[in-house]
Symmetry: C2
Amino acid sequence: MSYQYLTNTPLDEAVKNYLDALSAQGLNLGDERIPTQDALGRVTARAVYARICAPHYNACAMDGIALDARITFGATETTPVRLKSSDYTWVDTGDPLPAGCDAVIMVEDVVEEGDTIILYSAATPWQHVRQIGEDISAGDMIQPSFTIITPAGMGAMLAGGILQIDVLKKPVIGIIPTGDEVVLPTDNPAEGEVIEFNSTIFSGMLRDWGYTPKVYPIVADKPEEIRRALEIAADECDGVIINAGSSAGREDFTAAAIRSVGEVVLHGIGIKPGKPAVLGMVKAPHKDGVIPVIGLPGYPVSGIIVMELVFKPVLNALTKQRTETPAIVEAVLSRRLNSSLKYREFIRTRLGLVSGKLVAVPLSRGAGVVSSFVKADGIIDIPQEREGYEAGESVQVRLTHSMEEIRSMLVVTGSHDPLLDEVADLMRHRWSGSLVGSSHVGSMGGIMALRRSEAHLGGIHLLDEASGAYNIPYVQKYFPQGGVVLVECVQRTQGLMVAKGNPKNIQGFADLAELEFVNRQKGSGTRILFDHLAGQVGMNLDSLRGYNREEFTHTAVAAAIAAGTADAGLGILAAAKIYDLDFIPVADEQYDLLIAEEALELETVQQFLEILQSQAFADRLEKLGGYTLRNPGRIIKWH
Amino acid sequence: MSYQYLTNTPLDEAVKNYLDALSAQGLNLGDERIPTQDALGRVTARAVYARICAPHYNACAMDGIALDARITFGATETTPVRLKSSDYTWVDTGDPLPAGCDAVIMVEDVVEEGDTIILYSAATPWQHVRQIGEDISAGDMIQPSFTIITPAGMGAMLAGGILQIDVLKKPVIGIIPTGDEVVLPTDNPAEGEVIEFNSTIFSGMLRDWGYTPKVYPIVADKPEEIRRALEIAADECDGVIINAGSSAGREDFTAAAIRSVGEVVLHGIGIKPGKPAVLGMVKAPHKDGVIPVIGLPGYPVSGIIVMELVFKPVLNALTKQRTETPAIVEAVLSRRLNSSLKYREFIRTRLGLVSGKLVAVPLSRGAGVVSSFVKADGIIDIPQEREGYEAGESVQVRLTHSMEEIRSMLVVTGSHDPLLDEVADLMRHRWSGSLVGSSHVGSMGGIMALRRSEAHLGGIHLLDEASGAYNIPYVQKYFPQGGVVLVECVQRTQGLMVAKGNPKNIQGFADLAELEFVNRQKGSGTRILFDHLAGQVGMNLDSLRGYNREEFTHTAVAAAIAAGTADAGLGILAAAKIYDLDFIPVADEQYDLLIAEEALELETVQQFLEILQSQAFADRLEKLGGYTLRNPGRIIKWH
């Protein structure tokens, strides 16, 4: 099997070279004339000049009387001027200034005595008159070329008598999904089928940027079919995305397809994720110049990164827009991050403001983990020449949420329990826009985050083997000086999750020896509980298959068992229920909340506690199953 | 005539009271189920939980071979492991992990020898495998309630097997334009007709915010008709805007119409512009609760301000979104601003970064000047308790453009000439997104702005009466220490603009005595030229009618003459041509550019000068007429 090597061009150089190559061949969109009223968000193709003045006549700017200001000259409190009805005209705002008049006096200043009007102060010429062209004079340039049209811009053009304008055509961007394994979205995919949702993501990004996506049918991994699809799309679109097959594996035909129709400018960018991108161009059959054709990697995260960092500047060049530099903030890294010297790396991260410092909690680096983009508040940008950062170091983060949202976010770091998401959801029902950012790092991870002032609160369920007590001994040990408050949350049942019907007839820990286990990550309360219980029955953990296979959530353990890749794992009833697994209860434990003392008075923390004590929360736990509520929200004394 | 007094409720209190009143009656939108692929920008009506895992099977994460990791244990550089073909399976990225395998070795690490494969290092279990649920586990909450759906959010939901989701209905907001005088957009309105472009502006704002506007036909100023229109809109929409008639004049029926169908919560807000707003609600015939009905002032600027500050928070409450605080910056005010203690005032302003300080150059305060919103980079927010600010004081500005745009903007302050807009337009053709912010304050205003380091450059055409020379004597006088560069721009012809056919037979200044003149503002080069020429012929300026009527641009003067409200004014040929006026040349003058020395090396200034010397610029001036180009861009020695 042959292996093609890609280039490792630095990002900025790749974008510049690509733009230069496209510009040299010509990037043209063409114009169209549309009604001004339909032009929101479109781009002017040329400067727009007013055809008429606004206002187009001298208009009264107040309700009152119009007159020739000269007849009021000399009026004062002591020497009022009296006007007869032929001296003035009653007018409303917007009325044309009557002939012979050059001023309006507002109704509040007009004293009527029968037909006579008495004025106690003089008018100045042109007062309360909107003179012709006050807003816009005919001939004035209302908008220069290549301006994105705003609501006020539409108003100004209509005021200036512009009923139709020339705008750049709205770019149509073709998206060609490829792959023998990809299938249209389904809720029941067969093993080996990959749900094709990338085109939905890319379409959404294009729409957000003001372009029109055009998604083509899925094309099989056959060079000739990909080439045909590209030819059709190039004929119908102003740019084309071929998704997947952009790497150099045995079924990666994108680069070859582009080469057979046009030219590959560059294949391979020194970024991670996103390295195997193909930047190409094809002569546009329907217009002058070329159209950009980009091969995006198949993993959604890689695709999104290349769309944002490479394709967006290209589309901006097409529509003559500047590419805005993303908003960058400095944040303190919550844990160590390694990075290769081979790439500039982009890592999704949660952000939160804790104790006045902005904390970055990195999310999964997996290129297939699209949910990380849903959770992310920003993207850590690690330069190529860095081997990584230590915990506590300052990193550069590109914001994907507003700083206002980030500032208001409740930062929850600790043990995973689905109840955290339920509380967050209930908060949004009661307080619009309420935001909770949860990171699942296990109970010990939560304790460490609170010690470093990197979280407002965290869930913990830690059994102290010596005393048999939950949580309090750990808090006493790790917070000898105080600084935290322990708050009762729930009692929950832990048990062995096994396949439906318990085919291996597992009754307890003693039965696990010859089976395939799936564990939780080190530092998680569930793993500590497992070790404790296994120790009680004298299990040899070294010989337990799968003991080192780590998952980060109860549901992930349940999923592994449901799929048949493991026989058993320790977890909570709620997770077993979701996956329709059998459940052998082994212990009831105390899942509590550790809250930074200085965060206790935060509005969001108080709201969190309020929800904990609500009937709505009790109802949701009832549905999940396996929980007991005694005094949620009660502060537990521990020193 | 009766005059109703409005309340003067402070803005924050008005919004709070209005929201409280609406909430007390219930603001409900209702849900609908739509395909996930169509959900971009919509708002989840409830929490979305994954139905399937993503990936939904253990998937190979690399091209290579899959195997049971145990058979590789012990492999090193010196003790390689040899595998026969039954030990492994070739796999591509995305393939299901074959039964019995728990690891993938990437193709780069595989050494083939016929059918045998040699491995020089051991695999660890689960390496290069995307385990079931790595991204999302079935049952996980993918998005909480009331979340705006992003491209990645759509992807995550499709990955989780969610093909349809429940979203809040997209609010339909009815817009009822009212007024006997308003007409549909036209380029040939009759006197007294007001072009109805407000509904286009409000529609655009609603679309930008994610709502669906529904514009109703224009309704006459008849209470019964407005009431009928409101009833229909309330039946069809989730909110209603009645535009104009919101004040308390004799034809202002909005408050009464709302009262006849529902309730007015508040009439009159302590802001300027925007005071005469009506905040009301009507029982929703088609659902539980009420719908907000708002009466907006007729002036577009007032309407926009009330839309943004009052209606947007209401719509956010409807869709359960937080209202983001606008980005605020501090800027140095370029000129004095007075403000009434009666109102909190909002004044559109240009912003620019000059000599490291952010300068605010306030725009027209006229509530009818919609073009000011097109030019504005921000809005100065003057608290009610302030009587104003002195020039040089720091003010709070709400940004309407990004700081990056503002930072890159070339700040041009000085004499008005249409050539400035032409240069700005040509710059955008050559350099995408190039921005020039011009303020027309006259030649002397430009000199003062440069002295205060509040502009990068300005146009001046100042005649020194003593020497008869242009510009240099002024620069010598006002910049004795240097700090500026004078750059040749154009020679242009000034003349008297008079009505087509010159009906009053004006041949020169001597003929102006008995006529209606229209002047330029104090400090403008044109006014100084006029005074000089008038002095030469011994005119008595005090007796010249219209001498104190001031316009800020050549085109505004031409517009006044074209409309017949003045007989003559001094200006340039280009303006006379646009309005088809007769033109009596009186002087050729030098229009030059004064550039701050420290700005000379700025990219934008260099670009400006490059355009000045281009053929494209010469061609545009040729079209405008009345200009002579000698050595545009030449630096003029003056000290």
